[in-house]
């Protein structure tokens, strides 16, 4: 448990701080100012910054979604902190005219999940695998976010969603949502299709114009999930990070990056590259439009390289 907590301090975040800032306390004089964009009938997108988690962005890097229903607003992914969850709550009330009545958390990572602190745990829903992993890793995430975000995190406690999300249709306030229980980016990745508008909220199974993050990824499982997403009839895709996708680009981008990453790391070990060299490998030009590509490549080297060496390098001695 102790190790688990410590080992996820940075490893499990969807982002991290590149260079420490000096004088953080003096710099902190702001609140969050999330903006909602109407993207379909009764559906609003709140964009996160396409950056790593950093003090300058308060950790608000993940996308959030509002869906209006007769029973109140459904909020998908409440963001990184208590204050952000509260800001989303006020924003939802303003744009939808109704308070948040249900929260879905797509997966465990704190840039998506920790804003649940602003809501009654009874209205927060997640896959059982997500709750299980939050029990194990939540304290470590919390340490890491407080270290990087300091006052932005004020009052944020780890809140475990009490509702079980499961594969299948859910009708809430007269609006039918189809839930998909998948995995690959993490052990539990919830995707939600709003039947009325064909809006598919994919969580971090999709990254758009931003390199995918892999701290808990099983790449084979993730690629299988992408195949499944491609087969789900939809009109709009909302990735976990990056802009709204109207034509499926994010599916192709995420698949292309993961396929390239897997092959490149599996090639780096047998050709004798060390971790620094693997992290410095050429990133193909076709990924030039993906933000934070080098950063995520180096994180992925950290996530996968020791395991690949244990798998691919022969035993010597004995």
């Amino acid at each position: 448990m102790n190790l688990n907590r410590r080992s996820v301090l940075t490893a499990a975040l969807a982002g991290g701080v590149l260079v420490s800032k000096v004088g953080r306390t003096e710099a902190f004089a702001r609140g969050y100012d999330p903006q909602a964009e109407a993207i379909a009938d009764g559906v609003w997108l709140v964009r996160g910054k396409d950056e790593p988690i950093a003090f300058d962005n308060g950790g608000a890097i993940a996308n959030s979604v509002f869906i209006a229903t007769d029973a109140g607003t459904v909020l998908i992914d409440p963001g990184p902190s208590l204050a952000y969850g509260k800001a989303l709550s006020a924003l939802a009330q303003r744009v939808t005219g109704a308070a948040v009545a249900r929260v879905y958390i797509t997966h465990l990572h704190p840039d998506h999940s920790f804003g649940a602190a602003a809501f009654d745990p009874a209205i927060a829903h997640a896959l059982p695998a997500t709750r299980h992993d939050l029990v194990n890793d939540g304290d470590g995430f919390s340490d890491a976010l407080y270290r990087m975000l300091a006052d932005w995190m004020s009052g944020t406690a780890v809140v475990l969603p009490q509702g079980d999300a499961a594969e299948g249709n859910v009708t809430f306030g007269g609006r039918t949502l189809r839930l998909f229980a998948m995995n690959g980016h993490s052990n539990g990745d919830l995707a939600i299709l709003d039947q009325k508008t064909g809006t598919l909220i994919a969580g971090d199974l999709l990254f758009h114009d931003r390199a995918p993050a892999t701290p808990h990824a099983d790449i084979d499982g993730w690629l299988a999930a992408l195949d499944r997403i491609e087969g789900i009839s939809h009109r709009l895709l909302i990735p976990g990070h990056g802009p709204l996708d109207r034509n499926g680009t994010s599916i192709a981008q995420t698949r292309d990056w993961l396929t390239w990453l897997r092959a490149s790391l599996r090639n780096a070990v047998p050709t004798g590259k060390d971790m620094s060299e693997a992290g410095a490998m050429t990133i193909p030009d076709r990924f030039a439009g993906l933000k934070v590509a080098r950063y995520e490549l180096q994180r992925s080297v950290s996530h996968f390289y020791p395991g690949l060496e244990a798998e691919l390098l022969p035993e010597i001695g004995r």
């Binding site: 620094s276 180096q298 020791p306 244990a310 022969p314």
Partner: protein, 262 residues
């Protein structure tokens, strides 16, 4: 107990007590520069030199396993390479002597907080050439138990070695690693226990490279070296602080086989 662990690695460098020249100002502005420099260099001349490349990742994604590569191949006559992190409780990670090897070494270290990570390269004329950079890291790299202690299987795999060699330009790149907890002694009820000596010898028995290793090297320590001579096999031998010895043999063709098997 803890104090002795912190100081002991540095006593190894205390050669002469005399203090010759004033220390040059630290370009990294480290609060521990004077402390470490006075103990590691002990009066010897030192210069900051960008020809010593210390390659760090843009983020210490896992503070228990932070890759560091030191490349001093732009310098001639390298005798020693010391890798250290100013603000680690065990500052020195490795002290490498590339006897018949390129001045190049890659490994992974633990970090306990944001810190400068540096390489000090000693040339034959007795001058140290120093370079490095700051890297941010979460706490606990040195003070959390290793994964194998938590899993409980560390003893089942202790000393297992993996590795291969790639022949290149008359030399051989060696990459190898050991299963070892590399306990720092900073975790409650787990005494310090780490691999402390390493040597690479060629088929004639000549020693090509030697390294002293400290507890701030990551669990399951891994190394990349470039030794002279392309005729295998190369023998990698290590000893830990309990006196256990681990030995492995790397054939010159082993890397080529991996490439071919892809």
């Amino acid at each position: 107990m803890q104090l002795s662990r912190i100081i002991l690695p540095m006593l190894a460098f205390a050669a002469t007590p005399a203090w010759a020249a004033p220390l040059p100002a630290d370009p990294l502005g480290s609060p521990m520069w004077d402390y470490h420099a006075s103990r590691i260099f002990e009066g010897a001349t030192l210069v900051f030199d960008d020809r010593v490349k210390v390659i760090l990742p843009v983020i210490a994604e896992d503070q228990h396993v932070v890759p560091v590569t030191v490349d001093a191949r732009a310098l001639q006559g390298v005798q020693r390479i010391i890798l250290f992190a100013d603000l680690n409780p065990i500052p020195v990670a490795i002290d490498y002597r590339p006897l018949q090897a390129a001045p190049f070494v890659a490994t992974r270290i633990k970090l306990d907080q944001r810190t400068p990570v540096r390489a000090a390269v000693l040339l034959a004329d007795g001058v140290w050439h120093v370079a490095g950079g700051w890297i941010d890291a979460a706490g606990g790299g040195c003070s959390a138990p290793p994964a194998s202690r938590v899993r409980g299987d560390w003893a089942d795999h202790l000393g297992e070695m993996r590795g291969a060699g790639w022949v290149d330009k008359g030399g051989m790149r060696l990459r190898f690693g050991f299963r070892h907890p590399m306990d720092t002694g900073l975790v409650e009820s787990i005494p310090a226990y780490n691999i402390e000596e390493l040597a690479v010898t060629d088929a004639t028995g000549a020693t090509l490279a030697k390294m002293t290793i400290y507890g701030s090297v990551a669990e399951d320590p891994a190394f990349t070296l470039e030794v002279q001579g392309a005729d295998g096999p190369m023998t990698v031998a290590a000893r830990d602080t309990s006196g256990l010895e681990f030995k492995g043999s790397i054939a010159a063709s082993s890397g080529q086989k991996l490439v071919a098997a892809q």
